[in-house]
């Protein structure tokens, strides 16, 4: 290529300025556009999600892959709701007391809405029992029966004592009661005989009295020993009476419920258990006596509450299967938990304190979870997998599961699980799980991969405009003028880094619309126009552009050395890009190369000092390979080259500087200066082909800004890979400068084109004799390499030098 042909490599203004207006749609404002397709360009992911949620077979859960902000949750939820609407609401579930083993509460399931009905029925029953049981025990009928029982027992006691008293009286012995027992003493004239009187009695009488007291003492002791048996007998009689009375009182109330739920055998069995338990514990339901330690007396309301029902899943209000998105997927929020309450310094719990998690809430329907958050919470992923494998939820604390907790707690019956889980996460997370979790693909067989962008076509541009208009309406923003819509579309292409594609990152779109609306409102407008969109974009750059401003300032003050005029051997302006998340910017960097005779090494100084990343090192190695394959292939490569990013004190990665690095090396070898009013970006392969790189827009704009600051004179420009033309979505001021001829964008296919533009000298192509044209860049490079080879050979052949260098 001759210098006269350089203009052919310039990118035209038409290539720089892209229009995003489809021919078939006419509108002035966004509010004139009809509703569009809700999930534009995601048909592949939509089909996958639909398939996953429709297949009933085990393991066909769905993983939605896509970046944050791509509306992945909304899409999953919308499709799940669409499918849920075709299904009936799920069952109701409740926990009830297990009277024989309170630590293992039982479950009962009900048709939709019946669970709540049963809970209310049981509450009514408890209210009835609360009144009727004490009333039964207070009734005259019961009292009379109890009195009869007591009288019968008292009669037995009195008969025993009467017999004893008669025996005592017959022997003139009195039975006196002390606070703790009895004293037997001889009586005479209704008075106890004292020692003096006793001593006056005849010997025989004294002996008789003593003997009588001994006999009576034995009889008294026998009576006392018999008393506990009598008391036990009495208690049994009273208990039997209470049971009879309760059986009648409770049976009447429960039989109504039994009839109502006769179609549900499990409920009927539970009601039988309730009746049995109430009757067995009849004494507990009576009003408690006053106690010196009132806090030890069991509250009767607490006794009754054991017949309550803990309705943990109620779908009463639902008309379709549940769709749950749990934003905070901690263990308890997913699996459920058993709560505790403090009672006199001790933590206690029962079946009423079992709380459901999202798995149960979504049982019979769909559960949507953010995978990153699932993995951020301890134990959740394992617990979720266990539940899906076992197809049941067992509510227990993770401490218990892993044996960390030794205190006894509840072990509720597991609840069968019929659920479809939709995980939403980044792509890398999905691929990592595929590789590192062998169970992952067994459970999540369906991957729904969201597209990042949409191909630019008239049809898609129209659909995209409708989508933007929908978002504007949904968010109640000011209508966008046609020009503003164009500007938004341009930004969507820029976000996609491709003028032929449109980004499907919905959050950034919504942010741009919202912020543009803000700026329009700030100026009191009733419509958003293109300047509001531009302002929004500029303000993002201003808010996040502090590092960019600092670098630009350093370049203008010659702290960071960047030449934008003149020419220099072995020195080229490369282009870097910095990614700050929502904002990226580019700026020129000085790349220099030095060469001397050597053994065919090109040293990447960045790599040597461990500031270069692997891809950068790869780029340098490729350029070394390109060098050796292009020039003087019949002599040993006798070069030692050093390449460095000057004034770079942080890490460098990527291969987008490999064209610049090779040009600097060749400039050094050929001793031909490189134009400093140009910057170059692009990667290179071993054959010298220049390949596309990322961040091309930011890189061009970064160089343009520096040149504009110093004054554009028409000589400034940038060299980019030709394959990057389709990625150009440049700022309006850059396009305008190009249009005015103040700035140029050269697009090159290979290193020769790049070299020609940068040096202003033809690079040179080999002729039929395989020789480069004399005075071409390549000719000079090859000549220098041959010279290095000869010098090296001569050097090696001198006595005492290393012969292997030949």
């Amino acid at each position: 290529m001759k210098p006269d042909d350089f203009d052919k490599l310039k990118v035209t203004v038409d290539d720089l300025r892209q229009l995003y207006e489809p021919p078939g749609i006419e509108f002035v404002s966004s509010d004139q556009l009809p509703p569009g397709t809700r999930h534009l360009g995601q048909q592949r992911a939509i089909d996958a999600i639909r398939m996953g949620i429709q297949i009933e077979s085990e393991g066909h859960n769905v993983f939605v892959l896509g970046p944050a902000g791509s509306h992945r949750h909304g899409l999953a939820e919308e499709l799940a709701r669409e499918q849920a609407a075709k299904k009936s609401p799920a069952k109701d579930w409740c926990y009830t007391a297990n009277f024989s083993n309170p630590e293992k509460p039982h479950t009962l399931s009900f048709p939709t809405g019946k669970g709540d009905q049963f809970r209310r029925d049981m509450r009514d029953l408890i209210d009835e029992l609360r009144l009727s049981i004490p009333a039964t025990f207070e009734s005259d009928d019961y009292r009379n029966q109890l009195k009869a029982v007591e009288a019968a027992t008292q009669k037995e006691v009195e008969e025993q004592w009467k017999e004893l008293e008669e025996h005592a009286s017959a022997r003139n012995i009195g039975v006196m009661h002390t606070p703790t027992g009895y004293v037997l003493a001889p009586i005479k004239d209704e008075k106890v005989i004292d020692e003096e009187e006793f001593s006056k009695l005849p010997e025989s009488e004294r002996a008789e009295i003593q003997k009588a007291i001994k006999v009576l003492s034995e009889e008294l002791q026998s009576n006392i020993e018999h008393m506990p048996q009598l008391q036990k007998k009495h208690r049994e009689r009273v208990k039997a009476l209470n049971r009879d009375v309760m059986e009648h009182a409770v049976g009447v109330l429960i039989s109504d419920l039994r009839k109502k739920y006769r179609d549900m055998p499990a409920v009927v069995i539970y009601l039988d258990e309730v009746q049995r338990n109430i009757i067995e514990n009849a004494d507990d339901f009576r009003s408690p006596d006053s106690s010196p330690l009132p806090y030890l007396v069991r509250d009767s309301s607490e006794l009754f509450s054991q017949y309550e029902v803990n309705l943990i899943v109620s779908n009463k209000e639902n008309v379709a299967a549940p769709v749950i998105f749990e934003p905070n997927p901690g263990y308890t929020n997913i699996i459920g938990k058993v709560e505790y309450r403090g009672e006199m310094g001790v933590l206690t719990t029962d079946f009423r304190m079992i709380r459901p998690g999202a798995l149960l809430a979504a049982n019979g329907g769909y559960l949507i979870l953010d995978m990153h958050r699932v993995l951020s919470h301890p134990f959740v992923w394992e617990a979720l997998k266990q539940a899906l494998f076992a197809r049941q939820v067992r509510i227990e604390s993770p401490g218990e599961t892993y044996g960390f907790v030794s205190t006894s707690t509840l072990q509720p019956d597991p609840i069968p699980l019929d659920i479809k889980v939709i995980l939403v996460g980044e792509r890398w997370l999905y691929y990592l799980l595929c590789v590192y979790d062998s169970e992952f693909n067994d459970l999540f067989k369906i991957a729904a991969d969201l597209d990042d962008d949409l191909k630019r076509s008239d049809e898609n541009i129209e659909a995209y405009l409708l989508l933007i208009a929908d978002r504007i309406r949904e968010r109640k923003l000011l209508p966008f003028h046609r020009d503003a819509m164009q500007k938004v579309m341009q930004q969507r292409a820029r976000r996609a880094e491709d003028s032929e594609r449109l980004s499907m990152h919905m959050r950034s779109l919504e942010d741009l619309l919202t912020q543009s609306d803000y700026w329009a409102r700030q100026r009191g407008a009733e419509q958003v126009n293109a300047s509001d969109v531009s302002k929004s974009v500029d303000e993002i750059a201003r808010r996040l552009g502090r590092p960019q401003a600092r670098i630009a300032d350093a370049i203008q003050r010659d702290i960071l050395l960047i030449d934008t005029e003149g020419a220099c051997i072995g020195q080229v302006n490369g282009l870097s890009v910095v990614d700050l998340g929502e904002f990226r910017f580019g700026f020129p960097v000085r790349i220099t190369a030095t060469t001397r005779i050597g053994t065919g090494e090109v040293v990447d100084i960045e790599r040597e000092v461990k500031l270069g990343g692997a891809i950068h090192s790869k780029g340098v190695m490729i350029l070394a390979a390109a060098l050796s394959s292009r020039y003087a292939s019949n002599v040993p490569l006798s070069l030692h080259g050093n390449v460095v990013f000057e004034q770079s004190y942080g890490g460098v990665d990527g291969d987008s500087a490999s064209v610049a690095e090779l040009c600097a090396l060749l400039s050094s070898l050929a001793r031909i200066p490189i134009r400093q009013n140009l910057a170059v970006t692009g990667s290179i392969n071993q054959l010298g082909r220049v390949q596309a790189i990322g961040g091309v827009n930011e890189k061009i704009e970064g160089h343009f800004d520096i040149c504009r600051e110093r004054g554009l004179d028409g000589s400034h420009g940038v060299v980019i890979p030709r394959d990057n033309i389709k990625h150009l979505v440049l700022r309006e001021d850059v396009i305008e400068a190009v249009k005015q001829g103040d700035y140029s964008v050269f697009a090159v296919r290979d290193i020769d084109e790049a070299l020609s533009i940068l040096t202003g000298i033809e690079a040179g192509k080999r002729d039929k004799k395989d020789r480069f044209p004399k005075d071409s860049v390549n000719y000079r490079v090859e000549t220098q390499l041959i010279r290095y080879a000869e010098l090296r050979k001569n050097f090696a052949e001198k006595p005492g030098n290393d012969k292997t260098l030949r």
Binding site: R143, L146, V149, E150, T153, Q154, V157, E158, Q160, W161, M176, H177, T178, P179, T180, G181, Y182, V183, L184, A185, P186, E190, K191, V192, I193, D194, E195, E196, F198, Q210, I213, S217, L220, Q221, I224, E225, M227, L230, Q231, H234, R235, V238, R286, D289
Partner: protein, 165 residues
């Protein structure tokens, strides 16, 4: 020792260890409703515990276990004092509940002089268990001409099974 301050009528409740206080108290309340008399409770001791304890072979048999042990003079004093204490608490509680002022005194049956000081004439009333009627004390009281109300107290019952009503 209580001294009489004026000619205000007096109701004396004579309680013994074997007589239930409640019955006597009920009778006293009825009389108090008729006249604004001052109230005095007298615990009349007897020496049966001491007499029984003086015998070398007397033993106390536990109501709970049926085990027996010597019934000593010391134990007799303890039982006697406990009976007085229990009775005093019981009757004082009844007076407090009825918002009445009550003087409690312990009196030996043989202390005839004190009996004459407590009950002086026809204005005064003595409420006593019927068992007093067989005692020599009763004869002394009759001579004083005071009004005597004898209450037929129920016979001490044997401990039956514990039931709740």
């Amino acid at each position: 020792m209580t001294k009489r301050s004026d000619k205000k009528p007096r109701i004396v409740i004579a309680v013994t260890e074997l007589a239930p206080v409640h019955q006597l108290w009920s009778a006293a309340l009825k009389l108090l409703a008729e006249s604004r008399a001052e109230l005095l409770a007298v615990f009349i001791t007897d020496d049966r515990w001491h007499r029984a304890a003086s015998l070398p072979f007397t033993r106390e048999i536990s109501r709970i276990s049926g085990m027996d042990e010597d019934f000593t003079a010391r134990r007799a004093i303890q039982v006697h004092d406990e009976a007085i204490h229990r009775t005093q608490i019981q009757i004082q509680e009844l007076a407090t509940r009825a918002d009445l002022k009550l003087v409690f005194e312990v009196l030996a049956e043989s202390d005839q002089q004190r009996v004459r000081e407590l009950v002086t004439g026809s204005n005064d009333t003595l409420i006593a268990p019927s068992v007093i009627g067989t005692r020599p004390l009763f004869e002394e009281l009759r001579k004083l001409g005071c009004r005597i109300v004898l209450i037929e107290t129920r016979k001490e019952t044997y401990p039956g099974p514990e039931t709740r009503h």
